[in-house]
């Protein structure tokens, strides 16, 4: 009994401490950013840095929420919950329209301003009643990458999909295939999220399909182990390698010539801009008239210095 009381007392103290941190002067406006990312996805650190900086600069409170396992039905509950807590605005990804539209529409209807970031499309954002969409249309980005690769003489590829349960991941692979003008077929593999498994699956695929021209990875989670795999089988620098998103190892790879390009959708902007837009909208009633495309931007070996400095932090 005593133990329990103690731990409860500790809990209360910690809660009090954390709300004291929140109540340090600024924070007349508070926003919640809801993502679909599981806890294990390191890419979202940039998002957290983005909202932290924006919150500091604009003098508003921003909280980050996500479903621990990446279960989108849990994410829908988090949006409902965020709406019930009465924030001034919700910034959320729209990674599955069917699952999330209901909760988002309810939030909008109850007077919360919503901005869609990262996943989803401008059309879907308009349909759920969001103010705007900030992000990179996934299919278009994949298509642009495919067209670029086609120009470089690529005809077959391997798409390493580490987040196969998210439709936007598949759209990237599909867009790439369409850009190349080939059938996606079995060129997309479900790699899982564990680095050793990803590495070995890539090795196995390349072993079984030695004629593969190119590799497309969908982020650092799959790109980093793929780099190791290519080092191991000696195909590094030999095979055409493009990736979505940036990270330290990806930047190193681009510098070393192992990776031809990284498609930067600029997560920092996806997190930072909605906070700035919402704060200015709530304070001064100003709102940009259009959606904001944060990507795709191809990062190649030219002009890597700043990218390198901030990879994984602001890029």
């Amino acid at each position: 009994m005593k133990t329990v009381l103690k731990s409860l007392a500790l809990g209360t103290a910690l809660v009090a401490a954390s709300s004291a941190v929140h109540a340090d002067g600024h924070g007349d406006l508070n926003y919640v950013l809801v993502s679909h990312a599981p806890d294990s996805d390191s890419w979202w650190n940039t998002i957290k840095n983005g909202i932290a900086l924006a919150g500091e600069q604009m003098g508003v409170e921003v909280e980050y929420r996500n479903p621990p396992t990446g279960d989108l039905a849990d994410m829908a509950r988090i949006i409902e919950q965020a709406a019930a807590s009465g924030p001034d605005g919700i910034i959320t990804t729209l990674s599955d329209f069917d699952v999330l539209r209901g909760p988002i529409e309810d939030a909008v209807a109850s007077g919360v301003d919503v901005i869609i970031m990262n996943s989803g499309t401008p059309e879907q954002a308009r349909e759920v009643g969001a103010l705007m969409y900030v992000g990179q249309p996934e299919y278009d980005a994949g298509l642009a990458a495919g067209q670029r690769a086609a120009g470089d003489g690529i005809a077959s590829f391997l798409c390493v999909n580490h987040y196969i349960s998210s439709p936007s991941s598949t759209e990237r692979c599909q867009g790439f295939a369409d850009g190349l003008g080939v059938e996606l077929g079995n060129q997309m593999i479900d790699s899982g999220q564990d680095p050793a498994e990803i590495k070995n699956r890539v090795l196995a695929y390349l072993n079984a399909n030695p004629e593969t021209d190119a590799i497309l990875t969908l982020g650092p989670t799959s790109a980093d182990p793929t780099l190791l795999a290519l080092d191991e089988n000696g195909m590094a620098g030999d095979i055409y390698f493009g990736t979505f998103d940036l990270g330290e190892n990806i930047v190193e790879g681009i510098k070393a010539g192992t990776i031809q390009w990284g498609i930067d959708q600029q997560p920092f902007l996806q997190a930072y801009l909605p906070v700035v837009v919402l704060a200015n909208y709530h304070r001064y009633g100003v709102l940009p008239g259009n959606n904001i495309n944060s990507g795709p931007g191809f990062v190649t070996v030219d002009g890597l210095t700043l990218v390198e400095e901030y990879a994984g932090e602001y890029r």
């Binding site: 133990t3 988090i78 807590s85």
Partner: protein, 374 residues
């Protein structure tokens, strides 16, 4: 559990005197009740004006708790019968995907898709139980295997058939379906509209739904949770079959010797667990209109956590459905409530862990103190 049949003479030397207080204290629900009171006190103090106790907030954590409850009832009865099932989470994803494939991809009527999915999943539950009984392997291993088998199919089937892992369009298919409404609908809409009109609960302020209440009914998910808790509780404490469940989990050999069909009881409980998982999945699919390959991840542990907070023993033979339901309520309220209390998101799991641990320790401590167990 159920020895209050007839009044006995006060002087009967065969019956040990137990005071009413002591009898109340040895009930497995006690920890759950204390935990519930503590948790609600905690959040009433820290999150009262955060929207957690507005109609919308209450509905939010009730829905989450109801989800836990649905799978906890199955897990609880199975655990009292001495086994447990790690395939619950995968079963949720699998069942949802089956409904989507039958109704959207194959174009069956939704009621047919739901019925065939129930039949399929309950059979898989029976298969789980059958393998455990026949091989004598621990249920941990057998159901761990099914955790992977079912999750694998849940990703493979839609990926092969539709080249994507989320199948949507179920809401459209379920339009006007009588069975779908039993899982995805809401009840008491009129009452909430009246409450909204009377200004007692919040209504939407703008948009096409202005004037409608923010909470427009009780989701069927909650109705299912309550119904399953009642059925489970009555089954366990008021029927002969309930005694068989306790006996099968307490000492299976002794139970067999006294004529309890232990194997049948255990297999039926595996089937019931699968049934509960399918109820969960069907409600989820009907609510969100799509099935995804990552639904239900780790839900098996959440079910077991709820049951354990609720006072059941991992080793079987002891526990209560009401306790499990309270465990689910505590879990849901804590998980959702910490958001409302404004706890930093990265710290919220720490709090969750501390409070869960606290609840279980309290539970075990009280039980040991009262029953003299060591």
């Amino acid at each position: 559990m159920s020895e209050t049949a007839q009044p006995t003479p006060a002087t009967d030397e065969r019956i040990k005197e137990i005071s009413g207080l002591r009898r109340a204290l040895i009930r497995p629900e006690l920890g759950g009740i204390c935990g519930t009171v503590l948790v609600f006190t905690f959040f009433l103090l820290t999150a009262l004006d955060s929207g957690m106790f507005s109609a919308q907030g209450v509905l939010n954590w009730s829905t989450v708790s109801a989800q836990f409850m649905i799978i906890a009832v199955g897990a609880c009865l199975l655990m009292i019968a001495g086994e447990f099932d790690l395939s619950v989470g995968s079963m949720i994803g699998f069942a949802g995907m089956m409904i989507a494939i039958f109704s959207v991809t194959l174009g069956w009527p939704v009621w047919g898709a739901i019925l065939i999915t129930f039949a399929l999943c309950v059979s898989i539950g029976a298969l789980n139980g059958f393998i455990v009984i026949r091989t004598g392997l621990p249920s941990f291993i057998v159901t761990l295997a099914f955790l992977f088998i079912l999750r694998g199919f849940t990703i493979y089937l839609p990926q092969t058939i539709e080249r994507k892992t989320i199948i949507g369009g179920i809401s459209e298919a379920a339009e006007g379906d009588w069975l779908a409404a039993l899982f995805g609908g809401k009840i008491l809409g009129g009452l909430f509209q009246w409450l909204g009109d009377a200004g007692l609960i919040a209504v939407f302020e703008r948009g096409s739904r202005a004037g409608q209440p923010v909470v427009d009914g009780i989701p069927m998910l909650i109705v299912w949770a309550i119904a399953l808790v009642i059925v489970g509780h009555v089954l366990l404490t008021r029927t002969r079959f309930g005694n068989w469940i306790f006996a099968a989990g307490g000492d299976a050999e002794a139970a067999r010797n006294s004529g309890v069909p232990v194997n049948r009881v255990k297999i039926l409980m595996f089937m019931f667990t699968a049934f509960c998982a399918t109820v969960f999945a069907t409600c989820q699919v009907m609510e969100f209109g799509s099935a995804g390959a990552d639904r239900g991840l780790l839900k098996e542990f959440e079910a077991i956590i709820a049951v354990v907070i609720g006072g059941a023993l991992l080793t079987g033979g002891y526990g209560s459905v009401i306790g499990a339901a309270l465990g689910a309520l505590i879990f849901g309220v804590v998980q959702q409530g910490l958001f409302f209390a404004g706890v930093e998101s990265s710290l919220f799991r720490v709090f969750l862990g501390v409070i869960l641990l606290g609840a279980v320790i309290l539970n075990t401590y009280i039980r040991r103190m009262i029953t003299g167990e060591r």
